[in-house]
Amino acid sequence: MIVCPYCASENIAGSDHCVGCGQPLDDTHLAPPSSPVEESLLRDRVSALSPPEPITVDASTPVGEVLKLIVDRRIGCVVVAEGKRPLGIFSERDALRKLNVSAPALSSHPVSEFMTPKPQTLVASAKIAFAVQRMDLGGYRHLPIVDREGDLVGIISARDILRHLTEAMDREG
């Protein structure tokens, strides 16, 4: 078994390219990192960010309750989940775009009507560079982290990544 150096998908021995992301399965062609900051992007994995457990809600939770939860817990989003399986994400952006001034009238509707379904997820062993790229492609500020079975184990934010980078910058002095 070869673990992809980029997205950490498991590949059968002898594969040249990852089945998960299409990248070559060795990272020897990459230029060596020229600074601790580059190194932290290239070498560190999402697990280095210590992803906290996400706050989850059921698909049927009234969106009004979810809004209060996001404000009270001072978070940017909740993961809508069935058991441990992520079904979607509901963020403050969804609140502004999809509820807006209609929020009071829609507050009893289930959050599943307004969530962004099928969220992009990553495993904790994926490279931070990979997480940065995924966030940029989708315009996401959060990515749920799942285990090999697809069960939710954590969540990371763009801020977590930037914090990690600034710590590397500070080490660089």
Binding site: L96, V101, G138
Partner: protein, 154 residues
């Protein structure tokens, strides 16, 4: 290429900035929410004579939506007055530090005359990293999850 050097020398106006959505203090929250949605903007700058008096963000909007507060109030009652502002010539590294340490997701940027030039958001910083650093991010495939259903071959 040295990331640290770049973040210390490149200025925030080299990032992709959002056009500033400037409204007056008297604009109602209901009106502002509508304009934010239409302009696809998460930030309103409350301005007078091309000077920034306050900021009203997605987060402020969310608090109002959650509490069921009236939207028929002027922005000046809900805005954060005298927000942290970046100058167009401030460095990208400064923006990152402010976002990490100050908890800001977006920061207004003004020109030499204090006139709003744009808003830099965290997504723009992530995009800047992808555009500038390191090769690995560039060489990753453009489509997420180019997954095949099953392994090929015997």
């Amino acid at each position: 290429m040295n990331v640290r050097l770049n973040l210390d020398t490149e200025t925030v106006d080299q990032c992709e900035l959002d056009a500033p959505l400037c409204l007056s203090r008297q604009t109602t929250v209901a009106d502002a929410l509508g304009q934010m949605k239409e302009a696809n903007s998460a930030t309103v700058l409350i301005c007078k004579d091309e000077k920034v008096l306050g900021i009203f963000t997605e987060r402020d909007a969310l608090k109002l939506l959650a509490t069921g507060a009236s939207f028929d109030v002027p922005l000046e009652e809900c805005m954060t007055p005298d927000p942290v502002i970046l100058h167009a010539q401030d460095k990208v590294g400064k923006a990152i530090h402010l976002m990490v340490e100050g908890g800001y997701r977006r920061l207004p940027i003004v020109d030499d005359n204090g006139k709003p030039a744009g808003v830099i958001k965290m997504e723009a910083i992530m995009h800047y990293l992808v555009e500038h650093f390191p090769t690995v991010i560039h060489t990753l495939p453009p489509e997420p999850h180019q997954t095949t259903e099953s392994r090929e071959g015997a």
